[in-house]
Structure formats: structure tokens, C-alpha cells
């Protein structure tokens, strides 16, 4: 980032140097993938989101990416029929990242500090070329002296591409009965 006199202040949070977690190679194939390897992957994803390295985060998705967040009152919401909060395909996901990277996404400039936490990871049984994984999450968001939280479940569908684990779809179901405790959902969960 260049600093010129009169330019807007740099974001308050300068990310600390990151020690990259290694991405698990799927040498054993999806069937043999253990929970600890899936957890390594989820750790890496959380780290990238918390560091606002969204361009790298995008590379964790398969080309047919889907990222969906249903409305709080309709956890079973179907984006083809119902109103949902987020319904991103690969293109819209990239445009969402471009928006959040710009200085004109006013709600997220400067960026919130976030902490993506997950637990209760359940690795499902492979269905075709997909591996379903469910995990509980809490995402904390801090900005302007205000703290807010998002709590719910991640529903992933993973695929293996060139020996790497990739997200085909990520559906985020919120447990809060409304979005009100958090205000809005400008960040990525």
C-alpha cells in the first residue's frame, strides 16, 4: 500500500505475518480423508478470511462454486424459489470479493476485525465425487468499538481437483432467529 499525504488512513489492522498452513493433498482420495485433514483445510480458510486475503480464499473454491446464506427465518430456504441473504455463484463471489477489496465498500472500509471459529466437525460419507462436511461456527466481527457475532452451521460439499481439496458449495445456516444482533452481513462467513 502506498502512503501519500492526505490519503485515507490505512486500515487499522495490519495483518501480522502469516504462517501458511499447508493445504492437504488428497493423496488418499476423498474416501480416506480424515477429520484432521478437513480441519486443517477449515483452519486455512478461517485464517484467510480473518486476514482479509480474499483473493487467495477464492482459490479454495471449485470453478462451479456456490456460496449461499438463507434468511434467518427460513433455514431451509431454496435460492431458486425463496429470498435468501446470499446466493453467489463463482462470478458473483468474485465480484463480492472485488467489492470488499475496494475502498468504496463503505460498510467494510476500513475492514472489520473478524475471528472465524469452527468446531463439531462431522465428515460425512462420500456422495459421488462430493464429500459432505458439517461444522458449527461462530464468527466474531469487531468494528468501530462494536462487537457482533454470527452463529450457525457450515454445510460444505468438497471435491478433489488435481489432488487438492476444493469447496464446491458452502451453505451457511444461521442459528440467530434474526440478523438484528449483527446488524447486517457485509462480511463473508
Amino acid at each position: 500500500m502506498t502512503t501519500t499525504t492526505g490519503a485515507p488512513a490505512a486500515p487499522a489492522v495490519q495483518p501480522a505475518p502469516i504462517i501458511r498452513l499447508s493445504q492437504p493433498d488428497v493423496v488418499l482420495g476423498l474416501d480416506a480423508l480424515g477429520r484432521s485433514q478437513v480441519e486443517d483445510f477449515l483452519c486455512l480458510e478461517a485464517e484467510l478470511l480473518d486476514a482479509w486475503d480474499l483473493d487467495t480464499w477464492l482459490t479454495l473454491f471449485a470453478p462451479e462454486a456456490s456460496y449461499v446464506v438463507p434468511c434467518n427465518d427460513s433455514p431451509d430456504g431454496d435460492p431458486a424459489r425463496d429470498l435468501v441473504l446470499v446466493d453467489d455463484n463463482a462470478l458473483r463471489l468474485r465480484l463480492r470479493v472485488e467489492r470488499l477489496n475496494s475502498r468504496r465498500a463503505h460498510r467494510e472500509y476500513p475492514h472489520s476485525r473478524t475471528n472465524h471459529q469452527f468446531s463439531n466437525v462431522v465428515v460425512g460419507v462420500r456422495e459421488g465425487d462430493e464429500l459432505p462436511v458439517v461444522a458449527s461456527f461462530t464468527v466474531w466481527r469487531f468494528r468501530n468499538g462494536k462487537a457482533s457475532y454470527y452463529v450457525g452451521k457450515y454445510h460444505y460439499r468438497f471435491v478433489a481437483i488435481d489432488g487438492r481439496l476444493r469447496i464446491r458449495s458452502k451453505r451457511v445456516v444461521l442459528d440467530m432467529t434474526t440478523l438484528r444482533p449483527a446488524g447486517d452481513l457485509a462480511i463473508i462467513l
Binding site: 435468501v84 468504496r104 465498500a105
Partner: protein, 448 residues
Amino acid sequence: MTSLSRTSELPRVSTALLDAAPATDSRFPLVDEDTGRHRFRVHRSTMTSPEVFRAELDRVFSHSWLYVGHESEVSRPGDYVRRPVGGRPVFMVRGAKSGRINVFHNTCTHRGAVVCRQPAGNAKAFSCFYHAWTFDSEGRLMGIPDRDAYGGELDLAALSLRPVARVESYRGFVFASFDPEIQDLVSYLAGAVEYLDLVIDSADGEMEIIKGTNEYCIEANWKLLAENSIDGYHAVSTHDTYFKYLLALGTDLAGGVDGTSYDLGNGHAVLEYRAPWGRPIAKWEPLFGEDSREEIARMRADLVSRHGEARGSRMADTNRNLLIYPNLVVNDIMAVTVRTFMPLAPNRMDVTAWELAPRDELAQLRQRRLDSFLTFLGPAGFATPDDLEALESCQQGFSSGGVEWNDISRGMARTPAANDEAQMRAFWRRWSQQMGTAGYGGGAGASR
């Protein structure tokens, strides 16, 4: 609409503190209009003062028609939805016998417990869990366990669920008022009727609320959202990333946003304008895909043949941001939102928004409509979070002090354009009128 209904005064309940303050020279109106100088100012205490907030609950929210819900949400007998209206928990239920829509205070006539405890559903009866008094969907008290204990004199009818003082609906939009003396809904809606008709007629009268509710919150005064919902001025500067998003998807941004604003009477106001984005009814653009081009052209032709060239093309091509005073917004833009909001404190509001759409819409158009709603109007989209930031930023700015007035004069010296502020002035004039003596500062402690 008669001129009488526009100017009729609503009954006032006294607001002790402000009314008791002696009328001294230091009292000044919080909404200050000087037409000669083309100056319209609003004192910032309207957004920060606890006294103003308390007076609003009384004078504005207890004496207006407030949106409850849409008839499509309770289409079958016994269908109900529970929600707060004007900050009070109520529920709307379609009576199993009458087929009518009832709106009840959500409290048991016995000793107070909440009677409807699910957000939505279908019920033959509402049984209070506390002592098991049971009411039917028309509100009648049907059962009391161990009734003998009361002797023979118990007046069951007097113990029916209490309906909200007034309930009326306009073409599917259900409103309630806590004021038994309020004018009828259509007179109250005044010029807003024409704009609701445009939305409803464009779908041939058959509209429904889509499943999925946006329930979010903004740490700002509720009137900032009334202003923002009909503010054409902020679009380009605040929503730069949304326009970039449209551009990336192939929308032609040339032509920009162009239109007019209107004062519709009784505090209601509208912006009517052309904009670059497409409209599922009925303005095609590349984002909709080639496969829907023909269908949209057919819908447009249909509107013109049914309503004539002028009204038909207006329905198809132009956008409308409609504010129905005090707290309902029906924006008919790249999708249709029905949005209501209620203050919880001077600096905090709850917002609830639904998506309205034609019933039996073609699947691919419904998909584009859903996309348009969530990317622009939704709280996780490419625009609405930035509105929240703007409103909260204003609220934070107010607390800095030093500056006492907001300037809302834009366009006073010309025929108001869609990016002027005439529509906000319409809102504020009605607010000032309704607040009466509570719409003054100075005197009882406030500084000028």
C-alpha cells in the same frame, strides 16, 4: 383524496413534559422552513432526543396507519403471522369462519400471557398455555377450564381477544391503527394509492410475499431510513460498488438516473425515475439473459395493451421509491421491496423487509428478481450494508455536536428532480404537523 383529509389534524395525546413547558421566546420549530430563502432545515435533536422519541411513539405511531403484512401471507383460513406493529406484539390471522383478516393484540384477556407464540402457521384455535383459555381464529373465547368456578355470570364475549382499534387493507396490503378515530385507510394513503396501484396492476393484481424475511437493525434514528429510502441523491456516491457490479455483468450505465419526485399528501412521497438496471416487469437488460428477452417484451406489450401506452410504459420502464408515512417503503425498482421499520430508541431501529412478486411468475424471471433483490436490497448485498454505514455515520456525526441543523433544501429553487430533497420535505412537514407542540426545541432545556 380531499384537501380536508390532507390537512385534518389527528387527535393529540398530551406529552406532559413538552406541553407543560411555557411558551417562551426561546421555543423554535425543529423543522424550519423558509421558502423565501429556499431554506429547509431540520434540527438534529429530532434524531437524538429521548423526549422527541417518546413523543413520536405517542403522536406518530399511535395515530397513523401502520403496515401489518400482506394478505398472501395468510391465504388460507386459520393462517397467521405474529409480528410487532408500532413496537407492540400483535398477530394477524385469517378467520376460519368469516374469511376476514383479524389483527389482535397478542395478549391473553385473562392475565396477560402471549397467546400466539409461533412466528407463523395455521391454527384452528389459539390456546393460552398459562391457564389454557382457548380462543378461536375470530378471537372468541371458546373454552375456560373449570368454568363453574366463575358462576353463571361470566361474560365470554367481553373476554374475546382484543382486536387492534382499526384494521383495513388496500388491495392486499393490511394496515392497522391504534387510533379508533383515524380517517379511513384510502383517504390516509392519499396520492400513494396511485403508486400502489401501479405495482399491483403491473402484476395483474396477483402478488405474493416470497418466503424469506430480512430482519436487520440499524443503529440510527428511524427517520434517517425514511429519508434514505427515497433519496436519489446518494445513489451514485454511496453505491459505487453496486454500479460497478452491474457494469461487470454487462449493464449499460449510460443514461444514469433521471426523474422527478412528488409530494403525495399526508407525508407520503415518491421518486419516479429511469435507471440503468432492468425490471422483471418489464424492461429487459443483458443480465436477464437472452432466453427471457421475448417474455419481457411480451409482458411489456401486454401492459401497454391493457393500460394504454402512457400508463403501460410507465409501469414497465420507470422505477418508484414510495414512502408511505410514517414507516412503510414500497420500492418498485429491479425488484419490489416492502420494508417497514420501527424505532427502539432515538439511535436504533429494527428493519423488516419482504420481497413482493407476481404470483405464478416464470421461473427464470423469478430467479432474476430474487438475484436483484438480494444484491441491491438485501442486508448481505452490494448496496444495503453501505446504506447502513451512511445512516450510522450520520447518527455518530450528530453526537459530535457543534452543528445543530441538517440541511434539506436541495431543489427548492427549481422543479424538484429525483436527486433533490422535496420528497423528504414532504415527510418532515407531516412529521412536524403531527408532533405539534412536541416538535419544538428550546425552552425546556434543549439548547439552540
